[in-house]
Symmetry: C2
Subunit: 185 residues, 2 copies
DNA sequence: CGCTGTTTTGATTTAATTCAAGCATAGTGG
DNA sequence: CCACTATGCTTGAATTAAATCAAAACAGCG
């Protein structure tokens, strides 16, 4: 197990399980534009995207504890067969989530994206209708394919409409999940 | 093997291999907005995204021949272990490609998207620098998160810049791959 | 040759970005 | 304990890239 808030968590050839904290997976364009493909929280596994050529990076959004599994040792283990089947399942789930995110980035407007994001976060954390955002507006923007200003404006819009309440910038009360769901398109 | 140009190719519980033709995988929003997550051509496998709940659909862009493999029988086979490992690899490759596409949808402008699309198509087909587009502008638009008009304008722009030449709407000569590559990111 | 669906091109509108201040909040040291 | 600073967030005004609306040009195909 590894206790870290350093920059790049990954080495290709490993798969990771998050014990606590939040990790973001992202890719950069040469000029610095960034797209975050996913956030991972306690219990999630990641690292299926890593390979030698492709340069995705994994970074800690908050201080993080992760377990690193060596790819090689997973394949060699006596239970290898069922382990590989589990890994396949996890990767397939990841693929589905990523395709859902494609739909968001390709076809949803700013308000729909933010509404969908909040609902997704609420689903993960299971702390009722109050969510604690671990990441900055800038990270949310890079996840949703928007600018941080637009994200901020959409939060304000949702607040004005009475769908959410903000306690500081990071704690969000979902007041009307019904409506958020409808808005998330 | 299945010879088809009908609408939805998939049943969950199957994985498919394309023998010939082109398949598109897409998701719809309730109001009809569509995002195509991938096109699959001869040799490609697809179906890793399918499950009971999630509604992705696979459709033939051209008349298609595919082989359907029953998930169950793949797992039961005597060579199951290596088969599952192969499926895991394919799914991981799919995940990487999908994340690359997230970067395109979230952060690239229209010209960059179209340039990247053309290069990607060229890489797949390996017919030198001339590519035959199997799909309509509308499908390209839904893949790139644009409107068909914008796609058309970007083709015109690339033509004006001397990066490509069009022979009708569907055959594209890549005249300056170098520049297209630079433009694509 | 005349349809039908596809693609291109043009004019206008709009959603989101960019640029530019201000405002909060938390942390630091006097 | 309170100024002082750094960092992140919000808000406003102006700009812009892409969407929308609208029409013409272009295939294919019966």
């Amino acid at each position: 197990m590894r206790d870290s808030n350093k920059n790049n968590l990954f080495e290709a050839g490993n798969v990771y399980k998050v014990i606590s904290g939040v990790v973001r997976i992202s890719k950069l364009l040469p000029d610095g534009r960034r797209q975050i493909s996913s956030f991972h929280t306690a219990g999630d596994m990641f690292g299926f995207e890593a390979d030698e050529l492709h340069n995705a990076s994994a970074e800690a959004v908050t201080p993080v504890k992760v377990i690193a599994y060596k790819w090689q040792s997973l394949l060699d283990s006596t239970r290898s067969a069922s382990v590989v089947r589990d890994l396949l399942n996890l990767t397939m789930v990841g693929l589905r989530q990523t395709q859902e995110h494609l739909l968001l980035l390709g076809r949803k407007n700013a308000l729909e994206r933010v509404a969908a994001f909040l609902l997704d976060m609420a689903k993960r954390t299971r702390t009722g209708s109050v969510i604690e955002l671990a990441m900055a507006r800038h990270d949310i923007a890079d996840y949703l394919g928007l600018t941080l200003e637009t994200v901020s404006r959409m939060f304000a819009e949702l607040k004005d409409q009475g769908a959410i309440k903000l306690e500081g910038a990071r704690r969000v009360h979902l007041l009307d999940t019904e409506r958020l769901t409808a808005m998330s398109a």
